[in-house]
Amino acid sequence: MSASLHVALVRLAAWLAIILLGVPVAAGLAGVIAPAFGWLPALGGHEPTLEHWQALTRRPGLAGMVALSYASGLASAALALAIVALFIGVFLHSRWFGAVQRLLSPLLAVPHAAAAIGLAFLLSPSGLVSRWLSPWASGWQFPPNYLFPGDPYGLALILGLTLKEVPFLLLMSLAALPQCRARERMRVARALGYRPLAGFLKAVMPGLYPLLRLPLYAVIAFASSTVDVALILGPSTPPPLAVAVMRWLNDPDLAMRFMASAGALLQFAVTLTALASWWLLERLVARALRDWPGDGRRRFGERVGALLGGGAIGLVVVLVLASLAGLILWSLAAYWPFPEAWPQPLTPRNWLRGAGGFVDPLAQAALIGGVATLIALVLVTGALEAETFRHRPPRAGVQWLLYLPLLVPSVAFLFGLVLMQTQAGLTPGLAAVIGGHAIFVLPYVFLSLAESYRRLDPRWTQLARSLGASPAGVFWRVRLPLLTTPLLTAAAVGFAVSIGQYLPTLLLGAGRISTITTEAVTLASGGDRRLTAVYALLQLLLPALGFALALGLPRLLLRRRAGLLSRP
């Protein structure tokens, strides 16, 4: 390949990545603005009007919906951050750190819906925990009468979101810790007499937090606008705003789509308000604590912190493992009356009964995930390779662009894209769904791969060039092979993200394309726990296979190239 062609292709990939991240979000948002104010000729809206906003404000319970979305977004993010900070502060230097890290990392691959279903089955009145406590401890002969999931305050929703956000923030922290020289900072602090938690909060956290800011914003944006988790764990009357918007835009009455557009814009505003509130809180905390690191106190609730941090992270691990156990039990249960702790007999019948229905959605999910991941991987590799052309660090804007699809509520911009599709007379289908998945897969693939790509020792390139390799040769024959393991890991991450997607499949496929995830969410709202458990487990199966391949393939193919395996 000639050098100029290589450069042109790499630049093209980088530009396509930027376009894929930026254009659909911007266009989608624009696409809901016009209908919200009455303009959508395809559905007979020809002149601007505020009537749809008035209709929206007349909806019963709107204030409750907004409050739920806002509060669950902020509360779950704050909880997750507190748990992660306490845990790192207390355990960074203990051997538990590695163990918990290994336990929590795979949780990132668990689709949101599967985690939510598992939690619902665990803590509901007739769930596993209540069975294990009955009747010997609780005295319950019948399922007790409390509302979970779906309590009116959204506590179940907040708990479910927190469980998924803790592993995400923890992994982002692990990547950020070396960047802010956490170990050196901690050594200095401890050599000066600081206990671990005080040292972490005063010396490391101020450097770590700025690196966690964008991931936190993404967490808040997701939590304040989630649809699938809220459908499973959230209250239903009123539901969180995003769920209500989904209902309106699926209303058979097409005229409802105008109000749904207004609702989607309102969701955007709610998420922005939640983000702005967090930002304000950040400032206030930073200001209040300005002199705190210098007050000379060497301890900060070390014992309470250790108890809270260890307890909370332990609870997260236990809840997730117990959820998984519950799913497995339910999927194998035949007759399982209430206080029994164990279903008898165990049967494969639910799996056989489901087999007729789940093969197609599984294949569909694998196909969509595979293609979307491939697209993302090509574009991300191109974008990272393009960075090597310029010999300076990437600008801060790149980071924001990367997070754009994670910061704008997907219900808002995806719905705009659907309306544009309608207006343009395009038929929704597989291509649109794959494209939609790629938007969400790309940021995660980038985040997963960027560190390894940028950290690759530049002397490899210099060496290869001095031996006569062209830039294209260096890329194909040196850089990509050296990065085999990180590339495969990034692919597995991307695939897992795609499998977990609910909204893009539903909206861009116009309900005609069903994956294992859309089916699982639909089943979860019905009453068939056994079949729901089967689907939730299958949802876990695909990402697990992806990671098994990503970790196993290099070991198999590269067993005579051990130097490539030990590479980070």
């Binding site: 051997r95 050196e184 200095v188 401890r190 050599a191 007499g193 690191p293 210098g294």
Partner: protein, 225 residues
């Protein structure tokens, strides 16, 4: 206040009692040593001989891959079982490692023991800065300081924490020749004035000469090839 936090002027020796450190069962180094108050003992030897590991061990940072036997004491006080933060052993690293999120004064306040109101703490910081020729630098961003200035701030930060012994991990190796000389004099004068038993690890024979104390040569274990 925690009684452990109250410190008398140091008059205790730093004692390494039959210390043996091994990695994967392979013996790395063995040392028996008493460093008197105000004495500076230099540890020299080729790379990989475990000089930094020795300091890690004394300071309480020994990575779990290593195993160690023997004991570290400060006078009568047994340090071996104490966590790093309870040992009151000051560490000066190769890099100054000033916290980038704090000003120069903030870094020094971080090192200072708790107690005293804000104005009083600030007065002590200004006095300390004056003493090393950095008067008026309190509000500066550490990133704007020169290498020699950073090293002096790092030294003050350790001294303000009132350590009872000092460990120097090649603290002058990243400075140019003139700065190195200046800082060496400053550090040695300070540890002698405070009568701190001091252990210095270095590659540089000039460091050992300037310290003027005992020099311990560590050798690679013979089976390491």
């Amino acid at each position: 206040m925690n009684p452990r936090e109250i410190t008398m002027p140091s008059s205790d020796s730093l004692i390494l009692d039959a210390v043996r450190i091994a990695l994967d069962g392979r013996s790395l180094l063995a040392l028996d040593l008493a460093v008197a108050p105000g004495e500076i003992v230099t540890v020299m030897g080729p790379s990989g001989v475990g000089k930094s590991t020795l300091l890690d061990y004394v300071a309480g940072f020994l990575p779990t891959a290593f195993s160690a036997s023997g004991a570290v004491r400060l006078g009568e006080l047994e340090l071996t079982a104490l966590p790093a933060e309870a040992r009151h052993v000051g560490l000066l690293f190769q890099d100054p490692l000033l916290f980038p999120h704090l000003s120069v004064a903030g870094n020094l306040a971080f090192g200072m023991r708790a107690g005293g109101n804000r104005r009083e703490r600030r007065r002590r910081i200004d006095a300390a800065l004056d003493e090393v020729g950095l008067g008026g630098y309190a509000e500066r961003d550490p990133a704007t300081l020169s290498g020699g200035q950073k090293a002096r701030v790092a030294l003050l930060r350790v001294l303000l924490s009132r350590p009872r012994a000092m460990l120097l991990d090649e603290p002058f190796s990243k400075l140019d020749a003139t700065r190195r000389d200046e800082l060496r004099r400053l550090v040695f004068a300070q540890v002698r004035e405070r009568r701190l038993p001091t252990l210095m690890v270095t590659h540089d024979a000039a460091d050992a000469q300037a310290a003027g104390g005992r020099v311990i040569e560590l050798d690679l274990p013979s089976d390491a090839g």
